[in-house]
Symmetry: C2
Subunit: 112 residues, 2 copies
């Protein structure tokens, strides 16, 4: 299985890179490598699955549309955030050097 820290392939020509590490009933695990990318203006993720994401390298800023209003979240290596299904969020910025390395977990909103 792919080593999480190897083959990040962050050449200047490549965009954000997404690798599925595991895809099973009940759980999908993605490695995401960002090099400065951000969500387009006005774009919001609105996902049917639950997500938990941990930042392993680099840094990022998210905006999350919580029941208490918009929250800005600054993430450094080791920080994680839980994003329940349909918790709208966007990526405001990611660090390019070092590349920003995410481990993102997705599981069904209707888990027993």
């Amino acid at each position: 299985m792919t080593n999480l820290f190897q083959d990040l392939n962050t050449s200047p020509d490549t965009g954000e890179r997404n690798l599925w590490l595991l895809d099973r009933p009940g759980l999908r695990i993605e490695r995401i490598v960002s090099t400065g990318q951000a969500s387009p203006p006005g774009f919001w993720y609105d996902q049917a699955e639950h997500e938990w994401v941990v930042l392993l390298q680099g840094a990022a800023e998210l905006t999350i549309d919580t029941p208490d209003g918009l929250q800005t979240v600054h993430l450094i290596a080791g920080d994680s955030v839980e994003l329940p299904a349909h918790r709208r969020h966007r990526v405001e910025s990611t660090c390019a050097d070092p590349p920003t390395l995410w481990l993102a977990l997705f599981w069904p909103a209707d888990s027993p």
Copy 2:
């Protein structure tokens, strides 16, 4: 939420340390910090849940009782292993310096 890389609390007096980072229907996430511990002789993990574990720091050796026989798996930082429910396994050794840091995910074997 706890930063994955902080407060590892690896004083000589403490044993293996386990912190639940998330516990939801469908997914449990644990941070485990090992400092040289191993499974007792003859002990095997035999779990009702599926597991996927990634080693983020340190090193470890597992033995896994696979359908093809016993397999020895050496893990370095970034390596991961999938352990389906009831795939018997044991920890033969873990690195103490630096402490061995695991991120372990557990999800139900009966996921839809």
